[in-house]
């Protein structure tokens, strides 16, 4: 019932590599929001969010990602959702957000 975030620049300095671990809900969404916006403030580029170790997501987490995507889209940048667990992927699918984000794996 907590969430950890780690992030770094991708190899060619052309995307942000972000990994989430734990549960992304109303108690942890603000932490993610601040983290992603601080990255975007440093440099606007694609974000690859690795969800391999994310156990849970709901609309509060989706809301954060939609918010940051809007910011990125202005500069034609994308959010990639990497390797979500089946329960997490399901939430992207039923909301149709798998068509807005680039879901991989």
């Amino acid at each position: 019932m907590s969430m950890n975030i780690s992030s770094n620049m991708g190899v060619d300095n052309d995307f942000w590599n972000i990994s989430l671990q734990g549960e992304l809900d109303v108690s942890t969404a603000d932490k993610l929001k601040e983290h992603l916006h601080s990255l975007a403030d440093k440099k606007i580029m694609d974000m690859k969010i690795n969800l391999t170790n994310l156990e849970y997501i709901d609309s509060t987490g989706l809301g954060v990602m939609i918010g940051i995507l809007k910011k990125l889209k202005i500069s034609n940048k994308e959010i990639y959702i990497i390797n979500p667990k089946s329960n997490v992927k399901k939430i992207f699918t039923i909301t149709g957000l798998d068509k807005i984000f680039k879901v991989e794996g």
């Binding site: 809900d25 709901d58 809301g63 954060v64 939609i66 329960n87 399901k90 939430i91 909301t95």
Partner: protein
């Protein structure tokens, strides 16, 4: 028919939603739901609790689990400000928004959902999942 129940009253603190998910999964597991169904119910309950915490303006909310023979009914209630159910709009994919997904997700994941809300009296959302049904 009177069903067995587990009722909870919880201070409106986002930190407790994870605890409610744990309780929900314990109850659903005992009833015999599949792992996928349990995941669905955890999300639906979290969405409803999140709404009570974020929107009701009350500092406490209530959950009632009712053990059916063939499923589980979960009722999330607050005695807060209430809202106009008719005026909430459906999510629009061509223009995704930061909010407005919660009720849509609940409706998608549960078999039956009903909402009652009254101005200044609060909101009750009642959701049921049946065993071994997939719709």
């Amino acid at each position: 028919m009177i069903y067995e129940t587990i009722k909870m009253e919880i201070t409106s603190n986002p930190e407790y939603v994870g605890i409610i998910r744990l309780t929900t999964s314990g109850i659903a597991n005992k009833i015999g739901f599949s792992i996928d169904d349990i995941e669905d119910m955890k999300v639906a309950v979290s969405e409803a609790c999140t709404n009570a915490i974020k929107h009701s303006n009350d500092n406490v909310f209530y959950i009632k689990y009712e053990m059916l023979e063939n499923g589980l009914t979960i009722e999330i209630q607050d005695k807060g400000k209430g809202y106009d159910i008719e005026s909430t709009i459906k999510p629009d994919l061509s223009n995704p928004k930061e909010n407005g997904l919660g009720l849509f997700i609940i409706q998608t994941l549960m078999d039956e959902v009903s909402i009652e809300s009254k101005d200044k009296e609060g909101t009750i959302i009642k959701m049921t999942k049946y065993l071994g049904v997939d719709i």
